[in-house]
């Protein structure tokens, strides 16, 4: 039994009533008087030179109040394309009008003169010499060439000795790798531990495969929206659907050259984010520009179609992976070469390729990763960015190895998992994490050890790891004369975090959860708080809230000490009152009385302050098992059972934690089985829910969640971030289950029925 009274218990969320009555205010629900409607004019081609933009017809349309292009961006920072567009849907201009339909009409009347250029959409094509160069000369060496050129550079630097013979030998060696000159590279990342060549040489089994993971959209249900209002003094107010109001504030300031203090960002209730709701250019900056130009409030809202063409989805990638193990089940070496489709910007989670390491002791590991430019929109984070892709490759291949050496896939994983104290590359040793406990818990809950499978049925298992982030945060808590507590902070609620913060404050102040209320401020009023992404909120804001409540707790004891004329050491706060320890008869004073008393004291009201930025986080593991049935005629896979366990450290609100596990697992399922942004000759071809299918309740059974609690030393009450881990293993869980059911290994997601049928055919069925 827990020693806690509020944390660790299922509670209804603080925003429960507003969410079920339609009262919660999302971005598009904000409607200042006289508001105009903005519309972004987008490229109709995936790659083209822009020869001209003619706005004259649109300007004549009644109701049109402003049209802006890059010429209207005083800082010159790129908001709209000018001479060239790099993807279908890239913004070229924006319109503000008195009515949304008029704005749309006007956008269509703007004539763009395009000179269409050749397009490249596939990463493996984009790296070839034959591909059009999208952003200048971004040529990089592949892994082997890179090693040789590094040696050449090192030798050339040594001016004391003559290395010309060695250098010419090495230069000749470069000729062996003509395909290793990669074009359109946006970024690269490399890491190396041990000696993979030596490692593979000692292996009994080596498996090599190429895994292809599609670009998918976060598909938060609320499309991006902002309402901006610039007043005559230059002050800008922005109601933004965002995960990070403070990031949006600094983003607007940086892009438009407006002083920080002249911008107030009000985060509206967020209709899902999953990492995709941090972008500043997407709607916020155009809304501000249009408002500045018209002197009126302007709303810019994306349609679902615009979300698909110009959102910032999760990158697809191609991962060539090689793993070697001994016949007795020890993984000795793993090597990855990955190409991430970063679209028109750089980055794209390429650093996450290292997650092919998983939670295993792999003494020899080499990872080379490249970001590749294609004619697509840029990408952004999506729930554990990069991890689902890398872990799909890693965990699929582990299954293949387990099969070749004849070991049970759960036992094989348990045997290779890192343990507390093991060395980890980042320096410190492995902390205590419930890797084995979590995998064992899911195996037990799913009935893995005595599993049965009928014809065309199979079981799959996989695990995925992730570590929550951490960031700066501030919380105030005030205690009022009625004994209630009010929390004030600046972080966006990401499906339950305000509730967790409230529970922590109630726990420490020993008051009922119901007597705590929470208010989120805007960037003008609230203390700085980190963005709500990277599973940071409960960890960061939970710690911050704890500090604020402890500060208030201290003040409460001081007040009681004054009031009761007792030493603080003889007092304790319990059940909403300060009690004199072992007093007979009992003596106490309630929080309400102390709050009332505080108003006339020298020290003043009870206000606790908490500020926090960083403590080391502890990794978390998600482990999942699926049982599926595949119809070999149609290729359709039906999930019969899906069980998900997770080491959450400590579940502050178990109902919310289960919700995160269930939701993340279904997103992983969808990535494995259904979702794929598809690109044709001229950009995205499935920008809607008919062609880009996301799961509905009809697609899946109940997800069974299993909470495992191995406390994180620095988490509030031992809590870890819970939002991201559950999506990480599901892609491989599903592929492994399909493989177990019908004996074919699908390495290219999603596992659509036609792929299954084709794979069965080529297997001789």
């Amino acid at each position: 039994m827990s020693e806690h009274t509020v944390v660790g218990r299922k509670v209804a969320r603080v925003d429960a009533v507003e969410k079920v009555t339609g009262a919660a205010q999302y971005g598009a629900d904000v409607h200042p008087p006289g508001m105009l409607y903005g519309k972004i004019v987008r490229s109709k081609h995936a790659h083209a030179n822009i020869r001209g933009i003619d706005t004259s017809e649109a300007e004549k349309l009644p109701g049109v109040k402003a049209i802006i292009t890059q010429d209207d961006v005083p800082s010159g920072r790129r908001v709209f394309a000018t001479d060239k567009v790099l993807y279908l849907g890239e913004p070229l201009a924006a319109v503000a009008a008195t009515d949304p339909d008029v704005a749309e009409e006007a956008a269509e009347l703007i004539k763009i003169d395009y000179e269409v250029l050749p397009v490249v959409q596939d990463v493996m094509e984009a790296i070839k010499d034959s591909a059009p160069r999208l952003q200048g000369d971004d040529t990089k060496d592949g892994p082997n060439r890179r090693e040789i050129t590094t040696q050449i550079r090192r030798l050339s630097r040594d001016k004391e000795n003559d290395h010309s013979d060695e250098i010419s030998k090495l230069e000749a060696e470069l000729e062996n790798y003509p395909d290793e000159v990669y074009y359109n590279i946006s970024a690269e990342s490399h890491s190396d531990a041990g000696d993979v060549e030596k490692g593979f040489a000692e292996c009994d089994v080596v498996v090599e495969d190429t895994y292809v993971i599609p670009r998918v959209h976060q598909t938060y249900m609320e499309p991006h929206v902002s309402v901006a209002s610039a007043d005559s003094s230059g002050k800008v107010t922005v109601w933004a659907s965002t995960q990070g109001p403070f990031a949006i504030r600094s983003g607007i300031a940086g892009t438009l050259g407006i002083p920080l203090t002249q911008i107030n960002v009000i985060g509206t209730t967020m209709g899902g984010g999953f990492g995709g709701r941090f972008g500043v250019i997407i709607t916020h900056v155009p809304a501000v520009l249009l408002s500045q130009k018209t002197g009126r409030a302007v709303r810019v809202q994306m349609t679902r179609e615009e979300e698909f063409t110009d959102g910032r989805p999760a990158p697809g990638c191609v991962i060539k992976l090689k793993t070697g193990a001994t016949n007795d089940g020890r993984i000795l070496a793993r090597q990855a070469l990955a190409f991430w489709d970063s679209g028109s910007v750089s980055g794209a989670s390429i650093g996450s390729t290292i997650r092919v390491r998983g939670v295993y002791k792999i003494p020899n590991l080499k990872v080379d990763a490249y970001g590749v430019h294609t004619n697509k929109s840029g990408t952004a984070a999506y729930r554990a960015p990069g991890a689902p892709q890398a872990i799909f490759a890693g965990e699929s291949q582990l299954d293949e190895i387990a099969k070749r050496i004849g070991m049970d896939p759960v036992k094989f994983r348990l045997m290779n998992m890192r343990e507390e104290g093991d060395a980890v590359p980042a320096g410190a040793s492995e902390p205590k994490v419930g890797y084995k406990e979590t995998l064992e818990a899911v195996a037990d809950a799913a009935g893995w050890w005595d599993r049965e499978a009928g014809e065309n049925q199979g079981w799959g298992v996989a695990v995925g790891d992730w570590t929550n982030g951490c960031g700066p945060g501030g919380v105030y808590v005030s205690v009022h004369e009625d004994g209630s507590a009010r929390i004030f902070h600046g972080s966006m609620d990401i499906t339950g975090t305000d509730t967790a913060i409230s529970q922590i404050i109630a726990e420490i102040l020993t008051v009922p959860y119901e007597s705590v209320t929470i208010r989120r401020g805007d960037t003008d009023s609230a203390p700085y708080s980190t963005g709500s992404g990277g599973s940071v909120v409960t960890f960061t804001m939970g710690n911050t809230a704890k500090l604020a409540a402890e500060d208030a707790h201290q003040r409460i004891l001081e007040l009681a000490s004054e009031r009761l004329n007792m030493n603080v050491d003889n007092l304790e706060l319990k059940d909403g009152a300060v009690h004199v320890i072992s007093a007979d008869p009992p003596k106490s004073i309630s929080l309400g009385e102390l709050a009332a008393y505080s108003l006339s004291t020298t020290g003043g009201p009870i206000v606790g302050k908490g500020a926090f930025a960083r403590q080391p986080s502890t990794p978390a593991l998600a482990a999942q098992i699926a049982k599926v049935e595949v119809d070999p005629e149609t290729g359709r896979t039906r999930v019969l059972k899906l069980v998900a366990s997770q080491d959450v450290g400590f579940a502050i609100n178990p109902m919310a934690v289960e919700g995160q596990i269930e939701g993340g697992t279904v997103q992983g399922y969808a990535w494995a089985m259904m979702e794929e942004m598809q690109y044709g000759e001229n950009g995205n071809i499935n920008p809607g829910f008919v062609d880009y299918r996301v799961p509905t309740s009809a697609d899946l059974p109940t997800v069974e969640s299993v909470i495992v609690e191995v406390p994180a030393p620095n988490g509030p009450y031992g809590a870890k971030g819970v939002g991201e881990p559950p999506i990480t293993p599901t892609l491989a869980t599903m592929a492994n289950a399909v493989n177990d059911a019908i004996g074919v290994r699908i390495t290219e997601l999603p596992i659509k029925p036609e792929k299954v049928v084709d794979a069965l055919k080529s297997n001789g069925h």
Binding site: K10, A12, R13, D15, A16, V17, E18, K19, V20, T21, G22, A23, A24, Q25, Y26, A28, D29, H31, P100, D101, Q218, T219, Y220, M221, E222, P223, T269, M270, G271, G272, G273, F274, T303, R304, T495, G496, M655, A656, E658, G659, E662, G663, G664, T665, V666, Q667, G688, F689, V690, V694, P695, T696, S697, A698, L700, T702, V703, S705
Partner: protein
């Protein structure tokens, strides 16, 4: 664009309005009447976030023109609770954690309400299929189904 006269009965209130024929019922509810509880998630009738009840039937209001709803009885999420008392479906969504970001929730609640009015004796499997027109991205549906089954139980026992 020329406007047409319509009469909408929304949550028991009469609204005599002049609206452009191109405006959807969703746009009229949100922008003209100011009932923003009904959400716009896709504008193509695929996600169900804009579900309202029109003459007893669940309707995606982004696919209905406002002018065609003239004279009909419309209930939105704002009209579901009566006298400050939440409808059993609303209460069940709270009790089971059947919502997370809450954006799809009004649509789910309205769709569920109609399903319960029609037949609260459906099986879980039947509810799963009947709610297939509403998309939720946060919950994975497990707790939504719990909510609907709990509300069905409540409706059956109080009926």
């Amino acid at each position: 664009m020329a406007k047409l006269q319509v009469n909408l009965k929304v949550n028991g209130d009469e609204h005599d309005l002049l609206i452009e024929p191109r405006k959807t019922l969703l746009a009229v509810l949100r922008d003209t009447i100011g009932l923003t509880g009904t959400k716009e998630g896709c504008s193509t009738g695929d996600c169900g976030a804009c579900t309202v009840i029109v003459d007893g039937k669940a309707v995606t209001s982004c696919m209905v023109l406002g002018v065609t709803a003239s004279g009909k009885e419309i209930t939105t999420i704002e009209g579901l609770a009566s006298d400050g008392e939440l409808h059993p479906v609303q209460q069940a969504f709270i009790d089971t954690g059947g919502y997370q970001c809450g954006f799809c929730t009004p649509g789910f609640i309205m769709a569920s309400k109609v399903l319960l009015d029609e037949d609260p004796n459906r099986s879980e499997e039947e509810f799963r299929h009947a709610l297939g027109g509403n998309i939720c991205r946060c919950t994975g549906y497990t707790k939504i189904l719990e909510a609907v089954l709990k509300a069905a139980e409540e409706v059956r026992t109080t009926a």
